[in-house]
Structure formats: structure tokens, C-alpha cells
């Protein structure tokens, strides 16, 4: 009897053994003529490649000691682990951290990875404001956006921009309040 239970598909990444390419690489050498036309000078993919035969010594190099992994480090799934050293700047945390963890489940070749990271960056900005407020810091756009310099070197342009902005805001407010007044003027019994 045929079973209805579907076999769970495993992603290919989980089935391919690590470093398999080194085993495959040994086989073409048995093919007559293998590599006889290879010309190390003809390699436009490298900026002035310094050929030293190290191309395939992938696992054999001397690695530095591992920096203690004393914080959460998100790493690309295109490598098995973290690098021997890493930055210490800003480990993932909060909602943006959760979004980043999700993003790092996808490879660098996917839009999901990059677009999710951009989303996390935007969320992170609001978290930063909350963090500032929690520490009693009130963000100061005049200083943080460099408007001091703008006032110094482009005063006329800045005033013009501010005037246009103020006009747009005033226009929007007038438009909205006008609508409200019209509502207020409607006869009271109209909706009865």
C-alpha cells in the first residue's frame, strides 16, 4: 500500500560533505592532457595576481589562535564557524537582533539576507533613540545632523529649505483644519 507520508526534503547544503571539492579536484588529473594549457599569466580575475601555488592549500595554512567567543557573533552560513578574530563592536540585541538572527539564516547570495538586514538597521535606529532616552540623552538633530556646519556655510540655502518646509507644514495644517471646520458646520439634525 502506498503511504501518504511524504519524505521530508533535506536541503542540499546539509548533505554535501565539507571540503568535498578537494577530493573531486584529484580526479581530473587522470584525464589525458589535464592542465597542460593552464597559463597562470592569463588570469584577469585577479588584480595582479601574485601566483605562489597556494590556491588549493585551503585547510593547510597556519591559523592564528581563536579569539575567545565571549559574545554572540552572527556569521555567514557560507562558512562553518567564526573567523579567528572578529569585531567587538555591537552584538545583536533586542528586536533588531532577532531580525538579524533571521537574516543570517540565509546566505549572502539571497535578497532575504540583505533586505532583512536593512529592515533590522531601520528598527535599530528607533531602538537607539529609546536607549538614548533611557540613559537620559535627548537626541539633538541640530548637532547630530551637522546643521551647525550647514548654518555656517550655506545659511541662505538652509533658510530657504526651512521656509519651504514651514510653508508645506502650514499648508497641510490649514488644509486639514479647513476640512474639520466644514464637518463642524454641518446641520446638527442631518444624521438623525
Amino acid at each position: 500500500m502506498e503511504t501518504n507520508v511524504k519524505k521530508r526534503r533535506r536541503p542540499l547544503e546539509t548533505t554535501i560533505p565539507a571540503n568535498q571539492d578537494r577530493r573531486i579536484a584529484a580526479q581530473p588529473k587522470d584525464i589525458p592532457g589535464w592542465g597542460m594549457d593552464a597559463d597562470p599569466e592569463n588570469d584577469p580575475t585577479y588584480p595582479m595576481k601574485h601566483a605562489n601555488g597556494a590556491d588549493h592549500q585551503r585547510l593547510d595554512y597556519e591559523k592564528a589562535p581563536q579569539q575567545p567567543v565571549d559574545m554572540e557573533i552572527l556569521h555567514s552560513i557560507e562558512r562553518p564557524n567564526v573567523t579567528r578574530v572578529f569585531g567587538t563592536s555591537t552584538p545583536p540585541k533586542g528586536l533588531s537582533g532577532a531580525i538579524r538572527r533571521f537574516a543570517y539564516r540565509y546566505s549572502e547570495a539571497t535578497a532575504t539576507h540583505w533586505m532583512t538586514l536593512i529592515l533590522a538597521d531601520r528598527v535599530n535606529v528607533y531602538e537607539g533613540i529609546l536607549e538614548d532616552l533611557a540613559h537620559g540623552i535627548i537626541p539633538n538633530p541640530w548637532v547630530e545632523r551637522g546643521w551647525r556646519a550647514e548654518w555656517k556655510v550655506n545659511r541662505a540655502g538652509m533658510i530657504q529649505k526651512m521656509a519651504v518646509g514651514a510653508l508645506a507644514v502650514t499648508g497641510a495644517v490649514v488644509f486639514l483644519t479647513r476640512k474639520n471646520r466644514r464637518k463642524e458646520r454641518l446641520p446638527a439634525g442631518r444624521y438623525r
Partner: protein, 386 residues
């Protein structure tokens, strides 16, 4: 310590309460910054174009400094050395470093495999804090940091950490042959340096394209090249074809990257909606303006790895497309020689010298292209401390 603190797009702070860096690895050093620069690629971070730029980071990948402390594994550097620190963080022993591809080190950036680790450049470059600060942690201190040669101006030295090698490599990647016509898109610091360095490879003619008159004028004087404003052209590709006997340039250099101006569709798709890796207008122009069989060298920064690139032209025209982050360590001996011999004058690109305390103003000025700015230099308050 005092350091730049990123709070979100277009919002940064000169923060006096940043924690001092610590030695985290035996091969680390701590460097007291004497000079740092703001790079055009910092602006991509500042504008929110590069994914995984986390709030609280300190930017800055171009700096010089004095070694204040070293880890137990450091052998070449010693306390008191005044070093220029290349922007690449490179282990020196992985297969890529062994091939002098220091910009592609495999042991310095866990977050991405496409690029190596850089100082102060988002977490897709390893999440390291950068040099727009009083102190920096410098990993793999024995590999890239280089003692500033005696007699070299500190401003020349700091310009050798990124902008000069990047401009030089842009020209080198172009495979320029004697007499070649080279077109550089973008008259920012790197584009101007690429135009200047093209002569070192024997270019017969160098053309630079931009839309800001003051930068074009600067390029004419500094790089001794032809400079044209694309806003004055109906179609830059047709202009360049005509300027090259209708054949196209031998070599085109994209020194712009993801924030190119000049095409409304690219601006909306790439810069506003982020549906692709920024606006690829310069890359389009480069591919379409190069001759058949020519070389396009890309040194502009693109964020995520997809773009609306004219692959049809690439294939049909037989173009070679080359790009990479500069391998600063590989290029340093040659560039130090050029600077010491007076063949290159990198500090000539610096137009603004700003105290680190005014870093938000410097970013704004550079981003908004105010006051004829080309390259801003930051000076930390402890730069001159004994």
C-alpha cells in the same frame, strides 16, 4: 574616550563616553589615533545604504596612530611606533592573504565571505570599530600596520591607508597599456587619485566625468586630466564614443559605486527603494562606454550583491570586468616609493582639517558637498599627547 558614534542615517555624534578598546587577542595592538579621514565609502554607511550598519558603531577605516599597547603574540610592532594602518584587517596566512589579496582575507570577517574585515565598516566587514576615535583596537598587528617612514608627512601617510592605494588599484586593474585612453567615472577623492595614477601606467589620455564643477576643476589641476560635467551632455555614452573616434575608451573605471547620480530610474530603484545594490549608473556608463575588448575596473562600493547590470553588453563586447577592494599592504612599498620620490602628492587631496569633536559637521559637509570639499581630515584631541 572620544569617538564617533553612529545613531542612524544622517545622525552621528561625537561621544565622549565610548569605552576604551581592549586587547582581545594575542595578535592585537591598541593604537592612539593621530589622524583619521572620512572616506566616500563612509558616506554610504552614513546614508544608510550598507546593510548591517548597527547603531552604536564607530566608523573610520583610514587612520594613523601611535602604538600604545601590544598583545603577547605581537613581534614586529612595539609601543611608541607611529604607524599607518591599512583599512584591510588581514591575517597574512590564509590562501588569499598569501596571494596578496589582503582585501579578501578569510580570517577577519565572520559576517560575510565576499569581503575581508575592515575597520569601522558595518558588520558585513567584520564589525570592527574604526579610527574616527581616540583609540582603536588593531587586530593582526604584525601584518598590515606599517611604521611611517622617516621624513614622510603624516598627512601623506594617512592618505596611504585607503584612498591612494584604492585609486592606484583602480588604475592597475584596468590593465592600462601605454597610450590607452582611460575614462574615470566620479571625481571624488578615489576617482581623482585613479585619474592621477593612470598616468603612472602610461595612459595616453585621461578623462574624468562628474556633475560637480568644483570637483572637476580640482581634478583638472590635481590629476592633469580632461574633466567633463555629464549634466552638460545629452548622453554621456555618446559623448565618450565621439571623444574616442567612435570606438570607446580602452579602459573605464567606476569610482562611484552605489550612490551614482544621473539616472532617475536607477535613483528610484536603487537609492530610494533599495531594490538593487544602489544606483548602478556609473557602472552602466562604464560598460557601455568602453571599447569592444576593453576593461572595466570597478572600485566603487556596492552593498548587496545584485544589480541591474548590462550583461548583454558585457558579453557581446568581450569586456573584462574587474573589481576588488584595494590590497593596501601589497601596494604600500610601491606607493611609499612614489610619495617619497615626489611622484605622488596624496595630501594634496585634503581640503578640510576638522577636530574630531566636530565630526557630525564634517560628515554633513562631505555628504552635502559644501564648501568645495574634496577630502576631510579629522584630528583627535589626543593626537599630540606625549
Amino acid at each position: 574616550m572620544l569617538a564617533m558614534n553612529f545613531r542612524g542615517p544622517f545622525r552621528i555624534r561625537a561621544d565622549r563616553n565610548r569605552p576604551d578598546p581592549e586587547i582581545k587577542h594575542p595578535n592585537d595592538a591598541i593604537v592612539r589615533v593621530t589622524r583619521s579621514l572620512i572616506c566616500g565609502s563612509d558616506l554610504h554607511l552614513y546614508h544608510g545604504m550598507v546593510p548591517d550598519t548597527r547603531v552604536g558603531m564607530t566608523f573610520g577605516h583610514e587612520f594613523t596612530g601611535i602604538v600604545e599597547a601590544v598583545g603577547s603574540g605581537v613581534q614586529k610592532l612595539k609601543v611608541g611606533d607611529h604607524v599607518l594602518v591599512p583599512f584591510n584587517i588581514a591575517c597574512g596566512s590564509c590562501p588569499f592573504c598569501k596571494q596578496e589579496l589582503y582585501g579578501n582575507c578569510h580570517e577577519s570577517n565572520p559576517e560575510a565571505t565576499a569581503v575581508g574585515g575592515f575597520f569601522g565598516y558595518a558588520h558585513i566587514a567584520g564589525g570592527y570599530d574604526g579610527g574616527q576615535a581616540e583609540y582603536v583596537r588593531v587586530p593582526y598587528a604584525d601584518v598590515s600596520p606599517t611604521v611611517i617612514p622617516e621624513g614622510m608627512d603624516i598627512e601623506d601617510a594617512v592618505m596611504l591607508t585607503d584612498v591612494t592605494p584604492t585609486g592606484y588599484q583602480a588604475a592597475e586593474q584596468g590593465g592600462i597599456q601605454p597610450g590607452d585612453t582611460v575614462v574615470v567615472f566620479g571625481a571624488g577623492p578615489v576617482g581623482i587619485m585613479a585619474a592621477r595614477c593612470s598616468w603612472l601606467f602610461g595612459a595616453g589620455r585621461v578623462i574624468i566625468i562628474d556633475h560637480l564643477e568644483y570637483r572637476l576643476e580640482f581634478a583638472r589641476n590635481y590629476a592633469k586630466c580632461e574633466a567633463y560635467n555629464f549634466k552638460d551632455m545629452d548622453d554621456p555614452v555618446v559623448f565618450l564614443k565621439k571623444a574616442t573616434d567612435w570606438y570607446g575608451a580602452d579602459v573605464c573605471i567606476d569610482a562611484v559605486g552605489c550612490e551614482a547620480s544621473g539616472d532617475a530610474l536607477q535613483t528610484i530603484l536603487g537609492k530610494k527603494l533599495l531594490f538593487e545594490a544602489g544606483s548602478a549608473t556609473a557602472l552602466h556608463w562604464a560598460i557601455n562606454s568602453v571599447k569592444k575588448g576593453g576593461i572595466v575596473s570597478v572600485i566603487g562600493v556596492y552593498g548587496p550583491p545584485w544589480n541591474l547590470v548590462p550583461m548583454g553588453s558585457l558579453m557581446n563586447k568581450g569586456i573584462t570586468l574587474r573589481g576588488n577592494q584595494a590590497s593596501v599592504k601589497r601596494l604600500l612599498p610601491k606607493l611609499i616609493d612614489h610619495v617619497m620620490a615626489g611622484r605622488l602628492n596624496p595630501k594634496g587631496l585634503i581640503t578640510h582639517r576638522v577636530p574630531l569633536e566636530e565630526v557630525p559637521d564634517a560628515y554633513h559637509m562631505f555628504s552635502a558637498k559644501r564648501d568645495n570639499i574634496i577630502k576631510p581630515l579629522l584630528i583627535p584631541p589626543r593626537a599630540y599627547a606625549a
